[in-house]
Symmetry: C2
Subunit: 361 residues, 2 copies
Amino acid sequence: MADARAPGNRRRPRQSDIARSAGVSQATVSLVLRGAPTGMSLAPATRQRVIAAAEELGYVPDPVATRLAAATNAMLGLYTFSATFPTDVAHSYYPILVGVEEEAAAQGQDLILFTGSARAAARADDPAAVRRVRVADGCLFFGRHVPAEPVRRLVEDGFPFVYIGRRDEAGVPYVGADYVSASADVVARLAAAGHRKVRYLREHDQALASVDREDGVLRGARDAGLDTLVVRTDGSDLDALLREWLDAGVTAVVVEQTDTGAALAGLGAAIDRAGLRCPGDLSLALLGAPTGTRGSAPGGGAAFSGFDVPMRAMGRGAVRLLLRLIAGDLEGPSRRLLPCEPVEGGTIGPPRPPNRTTGRA
Amino acid sequence: MADARAPGNRRRPRQSDIARSAGVSQATVSLVLRGAPTGMSLAPATRQRVIAAAEELGYVPDPVATRLAAATNAMLGLYTFSATFPTDVAHSYYPILVGVEEEAAAQGQDLILFTGSARAAARADDPAAVRRVRVADGCLFFGRHVPAEPVRRLVEDGFPFVYIGRRDEAGVPYVGADYVSASADVVARLAAAGHRKVRYLREHDQALASVDREDGVLRGARDAGLDTLVVRTDGSDLDALLREWLDAGVTAVVVEQTDTGAALAGLGAAIDRAGLRCPGDLSLALLGAPTGTRGSAPGGGAAFSGFDVPMRAMGRGAVRLLLRLIAGDLEGPSRRLLPCEPVEGGTIGPPRPPNRTTGRA
DNA sequence: CTGAAAGCGCTTACAG
DNA sequence: CTGAAAGCGCTTACAG
């Protein structure tokens, strides 16, 4: 059969051509070119001849054959249960991709992006769709909501994979962020600034990342003895709620950060409409970094106080863990929670004295 | 040899496993799974058994083996001659990736990101590094600066690939943007607004995208009979130059957009320091969209006037063209230049009357 | 120190 | 309609 890949072109040299030209066997060529295994030594003269012939013929190894023979394809999968490159959520997960790419490159691995999960949410749940990740040596999973069944099968088959983000399922390897501690810390900072009455605004979405944040907020509030209430919103019509809070003496609001940023956007709009300043009239903390590139807070334009989600580090860590699993090291820890760096920002100030008039509205 | 890919794990099923389980030969499995060649027909019963066994075992074809056997694997490569996910250039090429992913997903293709080109510029030039793209059916190339030699070899081999961005080399397929027309149009708009003396500020970088912009500017200036001068900068210390321009009666400046945005940043800083307003004191046009998410012009904060680079469309178009080439269609056009949408913006105004005092500095 | 052989997991003529 | 065989270009024990 002719080489379908190169119709009408001169065949490119392979090891057998070198072998013929150097008067050795093809296997010897391989040994010389790829470096003999430990303990084995080649006659210097043979080496020379092979190298020379390879040079002469312009030999370049075929990566496809190399990978097939080496029984590893040096490819890591990345399967996202949402668009890999989201367009509408302000690139929020971009740093994760950056981290994944960095570490993969450093480790000499290519990346297979499994597409299509974007388009049809239905398809992402399709076991067949998930199954195709098996073409890679191992796979990274990512997304707030993940179908359980297809993944269970992967575990069963012993296919190496790692989640980016914490998971509840027993035995599932992940590299996540310690939202609980970071969120508790934010509340502690509010308490330290003198706040006693705070509200936590979150969305309805029940992803683990949200649950953890709420847990952290509640723990922080308990530890500091704060008056706290969790309020869920879809982000619309927060004006009345905001007014109510202020009337009740609330001096600080903690907001969840999500894909959509709906809660934050809604609150920001309400604050702007009320003509409030942050942190003059109200302290604000964000559980995570803003999704835009420059997240300036409403009523003042300062940077948000809160914490940074170590997305890039999560990406890198996930690649490293995955490679360990692929290498068969099932001993070490396979679940890691990375710390979130606190962000000072400028939206936490002392509580507004109760009797001062509210805003300029 | 044990399967190096999954030591300690159940081996991934291959065609011979299916064959055994279905009681047919491995070749028949291949025929069933990949679709028998035209004219050949399989017994429906055999088909059923094979399909069922494959399903049962969770079979996924090995893309590397598939490729070695001279077939296609429904994977497209993406090789970037710079970081695929740049961190320091404000995500400037992100929309291209979005477009590529969209179209790939729509066409049922997965994407292989060839990594490592970021890290070592040296490695990107390495023919072996580029050659590994052959594990994919075809490849998209991208980056301002591209090493000629490795790519020449790919052409020689008849490997299908497409550049994202215009190329000079004869016969190289690409999908680019028509910077020449778009840039000329921007100058025409300045002329229409009454400007007669404009300057074009560009960086030293000699990428094709820069050359095309300059050609367009010069053409536009010639057509409109404008007094134009091309000035190169690394973006630093533009204050004296700016002053000189104003003294000479220059009323508008056109700026090149690049990866780094150095020229724009430098000019913006100089304008701010001089206390000038745009377009009151000086009209400004940008050849391309700003790299940040919200590019607000200096001295006023309006959106830049200029044009949009159709990055997403380029990504989509490149995928479509690549698939055509993979399919063996060498007839149709293999070089496309997409139009750039003009952006009205708010930084082009009428020229400042010559005798009005300059700024507030 | 080197060659002959088997194998990586597929595809594709070629016989039956 | 299906099986046996050869081949893609390598790597890696295993003999000599």
